[in-house]
Point group: C2
Chain length 451, copies 2
């Protein structure tokens, strides 16, 4: 029979067991943190009606969408998790309790041109808190406190959550008479890190700003220091503009609450150059950068928006949220060798019967160890003992339990630590505590190598 070459579509990420295990650990860990804050997981369909998904989309995004018809139904694969959330909340608004807190860690689809770090199927790990009519600004602080928990738990130490407030910016531009250009200015300032201050100056000039307006804009963007110092500088500007003052109050509340939630100032700062280009955001905005790896770009970004689901409902649904581009982040960590990969099996123990005569004993031991909460594989393939150990080494299991004729007769087993090579003979009914003891001596490494 002619064989078809097994392969996947380009631009899709598929992992081998060793990588898959650490990816799943990362996904699981993030889910647990989200749940520890009381977010409920949603699992919306991958396919939605085109009319629904494309209510807002346009331009580049729309071109990239996987859209097709089946029968007479025009449908799309989702391209993000925000549009499905807005559809869900609008659809089920009378069955949900507000503030509604949801997370979703799922794949979305965009037929982008394949390039390094761009995937056509990609996981995002989103959280949003959606209020009905109003939503306290204190929730704006909860989101970065979760970012802090996630990155710290992943093993990242040197990173900064950079915060800003769009009302503060809008008020400032109004105050210096640049109200009309403010959207354009925001987009330009947002590129500061990428294109540098000189280019920003030129762009602002091209926009028609006068020299002193440009200086004012840049001087404002340059304000920095500790949280206390930045807040003081912003206060001392004495800007008599309601929008500015609201933004400043919000910044004070959010940074104060971050302190209450135990986020150290070594991991967050006010950065007046962060604007988040999207029109969508209306208040607090955040981006997060690893100190030592600026090339990664922002790991998690998000912010406050005024209205989640205006296309589907008249009810005003303000919210705040953020997203981690998980597939992209994982790909970067993998490419830079920063993942603490290890075993190729989730099992902690491999039980090996020397010959078929010990197969039953091996199965019984496997069963007992699992009941004791120890993940255990039994090697039942009939082959030479040497091959069995080759398998154990290849899958990089931590411990091997060997049962030969003697061990079977004496109700014992040989317990071997595969890392150290040490082995000991243990009574079969003492295997579980012996393994737990060995496990305690080997601390679990964080997902990301020290950085």
């Amino acid at each position: 029979m002619k064989k078809i070459t097994p392969r996947i579509l380009s631009g899709f990420m598929e992992l081998l067991p060793e990588e898959q295990l650490i990816f799943d650990r990362m996904k699981q860990m993030i889910a647990e943190i989200y749940e520890s804050f009381g977010f409920v997981a949603l699992d919306t369909p991958v396919l939605e009606l085109s009319e629904i998904l494309l209510a807002k989309a346009g331009g580049e995004t729309e071109k990239q969408i996987y859209r097709f018809t089946k029968g007479d139904t025009d449908m799309c694969m989702r391209f993000d998790l925000t549009v499905p959330l807005s559809r869900y909340v609008a659809q089920h608004q009378n069955e949900l309790s507000f503030p509604f807190r949801r997370y979703q860690i799922s794949k979305s689809y965009r037929g982008e041109r394949p390039q390094r770090g761009r995937f056509r199927e990609f996981y995002q790990a989103d959280i949003d808190i959606v209020g009905s009519e109003t939503l306290s600004v204190l929730y704006d602080a909860e989101i970065p406190s979760i970012i802090y928990k996630v990155l710290t738990k992943l093993g990242l130490k040197r990173f900064h959550i950079r915060m800003n407030n769009r009302k503060l910016l809008k008020g400032f531009y109004e105050h210096i008479g640049l109200n009309e250009q403010s959207a354009e200015i925001l987009r330009i300032i947002d590129k500061m890190d990428k294109i540098g201050e000189d280019n920003v100056r030129m762009c602002l000039f091209d926009l028609g700003l006068k020299a002193d307006s440009i200086s004012q804009v840049l001087n404002f963007a340059r304000i920095q220091g500790t949280i206390e110092s930045v807040l003081k500088q912003l206060t001392d500007l004495n800007i008599d503009n309601a929008c500015y003052q609201t933004g400043l109050e919000e910044l004070k509340t959010v940074t104060g609450a971050l302190n209450d939630m135990g986020v150290p100032e070594t991991n967050f700062m006010i950065d007046l150059r962060i604007t988040r280009g999207l029109d969508y955001y209306t208040g607090t905005v955040y981006e997060t950068f690893a100190d030592d790896f600026p090339s990664w770009g922002s790991i998690c970004s998000g912010g406050r928006y005024d209205n989640l689901a205006g296309y589907y409902t008249d009810r005003k649904l303000p919210g705040v949220g953020m997203s981690i581009g998980l597939t992209r982040f994982f790909d970067v960590l993998k490419a830079q060798g920063l993942l603490n990969t290890g075993s190729k099996t989730p099992a902690c123990v491999l039980v090996i019967p020397m010959t078929p005569a010990e197969a039953g004993t091996a199965l019984r031991i496997g069963n007992v160890l699992r009941q004791e909460g120890i993940k255990t594989e039994v090697y039942s393939a009939q082959t030479k003992f040497k091959n069995k150990m080759v398998y154990a080494n290849k899958v990089a299991v931590s411990y091997v339990v060997i049962i030969g004729e003697t061990e079977k007769a004496e109700n014992t087993a040989v317990l071997k630590n595969m890392k150290s090579g040490e082995q000991q003979t243990v009574a079969q009914d003492k295997l579980a505590p012996s393994i737990r003891l060995l496990q305690k001596l080997e601390p679990t490494l964080p997902i990301i190598k020290d950085c």
Copy 2:
């Protein structure tokens, strides 16, 4: 602005928080059991090249597939998890260790006509053990021992895993001279439970079988009793056919190993009427039925196959596996009111500040409780205290921690058990142990109500 009515495609399942929480608990529990046996999770792409996915498909399945082109690429959404597995193993055969053990709990897609219990997007929870060239029959016993663990842990008590062996059947039909019609006979016998013995008799007659052949086939299918008794009856038939004897040996080995793995005979039996219609299976086959709910059909089915990936590689890859149709099973349990649903939030505790003056304290307490491993939501919305308690009731959180002026001043909190209504004043630094004590008194209910 004209609003678009928010809705999803028909034939898709979407859950509200209360249902989603229990669905995810079920999914998570199954994943944990699979991992406890050393299966590694795979996460293959939802989209694959049509050439790959349709190598085998045909007939009904092919008509149901979501297939489309983008650019000049002809692609499909996967319609099961087996074809992607075979592609994966063939593609990565030199990087994998055999026996290769994988599980995948993911969605597949079929554009079936919508009807009760049929979904166009559905979860399957698959496990397979794939050998290179050979695979010990002992692995055939591991699969039903996992089915046993899963269903027991879900809370189902009265169920039977029904096993048979295709070699035994094939040998028997050879022996009575019905070799050529054996595939047809298998398909007919497989329907016994659905259509009844009389109709089976008629179908066999239509197939051209003579009266005594029909009697022989039916007498064989009727053999039942304890494992020991069935094996004895099968042995006593003294059938001199190699294929039959191999099948009988395999049944003996598998049932013996099931015993080693602690599966009680109250949950498994040999049923010679189980054949699994698919040509795919070549040895052990299983189906699983709830004793009290025959209308559910088989909850998990599977078996042994000779060659996983013949379309993609010359390497022989025999395997054994099974699949749980999770979306369908969940839908049945939900429809019959058999799910122990409870809370609408994953949080165990809701911290409520009486007024904005206690907001900071509430955030600090939330942070501490989370550090102690207690899932905690802080209610930061600014509204009347009464509304805060309405929210707590609506999301059905177990415990509420209330901080008022007095509690803040005295570093205490009111801890309220929402189920019993009892409340106590507790020092803030004693909240975590107090909550853990209350948790201990409330045992976790299984996912499925007693049945």
